[in-house]
């Protein structure tokens, strides 16, 4: 995906093999979007066509309207939006500060502290649900958006990613800023943060899509409309409010993943590159 593309490599298939590979790749791609395509079909057609494929079946937005009215999705959208914003904002601040310390300060205990950070990659908040629930209950913030966010705001992954990036910033730039009289925080803001912009974008996309999609912890810690994010709202909606009206469930499902899906379709290059950047370090 990076810049210059050479001519056809010696090991790209030619002739018949090229055709076979193209067909196989397309078949797999079709297979891959089939469940989604089926859900889209059902969501945009009247219920009587939900399992019948006729070319001229009438299109409708009625299912979306019914789903929107059947549950407080507006509130769920708002909650999810607040949640991912809160998490990302805290993550950016905390991870930037910590990463800077690990990348540019040599102090006793830094290796030990880094090991403590990396421990989170193995001991994930996703698994510590029982104990974190107790903590939230002691803090008296059960069933609130901060309760969903708190276990995730210090992200080992983010610290690690930014530390690698800051380490690649030439030391001379840092020294120059200090000579000009900039303090530690100023140097960080004026030199390091601007240079790490692509990494921030990558991390932001990964973080937003992770927390937009997160389900188990929000399910445990919330139990009211005021704090439920979309994923939990969707689950409550499709398991209790509706019988098995598939057209309305499909509509609700598409609606909840809509913003991410549309964002992905529009900016798919950035998305793919972000996930890649976040991964190879």
């Amino acid at each position: 995906m990076s810049g210059a593309v050479a001519s056809i490599g010696p090991y790209e298939p030619r002739g018949m093999w090229r055709w076979l590979e193209t067909i196989a790749a397309w078949l797999l791609a079709i297979l891959w979007v089939l469940p989604l395509a089926y859900a889209i079909w059902t969501a945009f057609h009247p219920p009587e066509f939900s399992a019948r494929f006729t070319l001229f079946a009438p299109l409708t937005l009625d299912n979306f309207a019914r789903a929107w009215e059947a549950a407080p999705f507006a509130r769920y959208f708002f909650n999810t939006f607040m949640l991912v914003t809160l998490i990302l904002a805290c993550q950016l601040v905390l991870c930037t500060l910590a990463a800077y310390a690990f990348a540019r300060y040599d102090f006793p205990g830094s290796n030990f502290a880094f090991a403590l950070v990396l421990a989170q990659l193995m001991i994930m908040p996703d698994v510590l649900i029982v104990e974190n629930y107790k903590t939230m209950s002691k803090l008296g913030i059960l069933d609130s958006i901060p309760a969903i966010a708190l276990p995730y705001v210090a992200s080992a992954f983010g610290i690690f990613l930014l530390r690698q990036t800051f380490k690649s910033v030439p030391k001379e730039l840092d020294d120059a800023a200090r000579v000009e009289g900039a303090g530690a925080l100023q140097t960080l803001l004026k030199v390091y943060v601007p240079l790490a912009k692509p990494i921030y974008l990558a991390y932001g996309l990964v973080s937003v899509s992770y927390h937009w999609n997160n389900f188990l912890w929000p399910l445990i810690v919330t139990n009211s409309v005021e704090s439920r994010p979309l994923t939990v709202g969707l689950q409550v909606f499709s398991s209790t409010d509706q019988g098995i009206d598939w057209s309305i469930i499909c509509a609700a499902t598409l609606m909840t993943s809509g913003p991410l899906l549309i964002g992905f379709l529009l900016f798919q290059r950035q998305f793919v590159q972000s996930f890649m950047r976040a991964g190879i370090r």
Binding site: A25, W32, G109, S110, W212, F264
Partner: protein, 292 residues
């Protein structure tokens, strides 16, 4: 900058992140370990030290063994298949075949969808009679009445397929990145030597992809023990615990039966297992992969 200022600055910068980590990762981890040796507090009976009782109770619980077996099968099903598929997808999309941007998008789409939405979609896909699977089988003269998720024989396979579908495209991205970093000159040299495409893959590409494979493998193993969203939506562990996975069992013990002590003990077991797996992977595989 002298050493003392560096130390103070360093720790001050670290402080906020470390405080949150301590509160929501380190302390809960230790707390889980401690709680696993105590009984669950009940309204009329305070908690008391019970030694290894919780662990004994878990080991005597047939549902634990079933969840463990299920989870191992789930891992054995998802990890190799999704990694192999990811590699194949990356190799295909790396060639300049017609419409590769669209194909890449199709492979990657499941990654950006919430697992919970995905599970709803697949639930519909598997529905007897209405579902696409039933209809496709019906069209080919098969029976459309099979209750894929309701039968003990097929339910675990069904949720495994969903996990593979969700993950393969995500792993593909890392292979794609790695493939594009293999120097073109290697391919040219190999073709001058007259190596076949298969030989080139097996002797050059595959070994050079090994660091990526290790990274992907670690992720895949963790995910195999972390993914439960689709279980909650599609089967709730049923039928008859046929799809109960370890984390789902923790959730069930902790938040359906409110037996937090048992849930804590099971969490310790799961974390210990994951830790051992990680050590094994890094210790054993890393030694065999260094080319750089």
């Amino acid at each position: 900058m002298n050493r003392l200022t560096a130390t103070i600055h360093g720790w001050l910068l670290l402080l906020p992140a470390m405080a949150f980590l301590a509160l929501f990762t380190h302390w809960p981890a230790i707390g889980t370990l401690i709680d696993s040796f105590y009984s669950t507090p009940r309204p009329r009976r305070a908690t008391s030290y019970v030694g290894l009782d919780n662990y004994r109770q878990i080991l005597d619980d047939p549902i634990f063994w079933q969840s463990l077996t299920n989870n191992l099968w789930f891992a054995v099903g998802t990890i190799p298949v999704s990694i192999a598929l990811a590699m194949l997808m990356a190799l295909w999309v790396n060639d300049r075949i017609a419409g590769r941007t669209l194909i890449r998008m199709a492979y990657f789409t499941p990654t950006v969808l919430p697992m919970i939405a995905v599970a709803n979609i697949w639930l519909f896909f598997y529905t007897p009679q209405y579902g696409l699977l039933a209809q496709a089988l019906g069209a080919f003269g098969g029976t459309s009445n099979t209750n894929w998720l309701g039968s003990k024989d097929t339910a675990l396979l069904c949720v495994t397929i969903v996990a593979i579908w969700k993950e393969a495209g995500f792993f593909m991205i890392f292979y794609l990145a790695a493939l594009q970093q293999i120097p073109v000159s290697l391919g040219e040299a190999a073709s001058l030597e007259g190596a076949s495409r298969w030989t080139y893959f097996r002797r050059v590409q595959f070994p050079l992809l090994m660091p990526t494979t290790l990274f992907v493998l670690v992720n895949a193993v963790i995910n195999a023990f972390r993914m439960v969203d689709h279980i909650i939506v599609m089967t709730r562990g049923g039928p008859d615990n046929a799809t109960s996975l370890l984390l789902f069992r923790i959730y069930e013990l902790g938040f359906s039966f409110w037996d937090t002590a048992l849930a804590a003990a099971l969490t310790v077991i799961l974390l210990a297992g994951l830790g051992l797996a990680a050590l094994a992977q890094y210790g054993f595989l890393e030694r065999r992969i260094h080319y750089r």
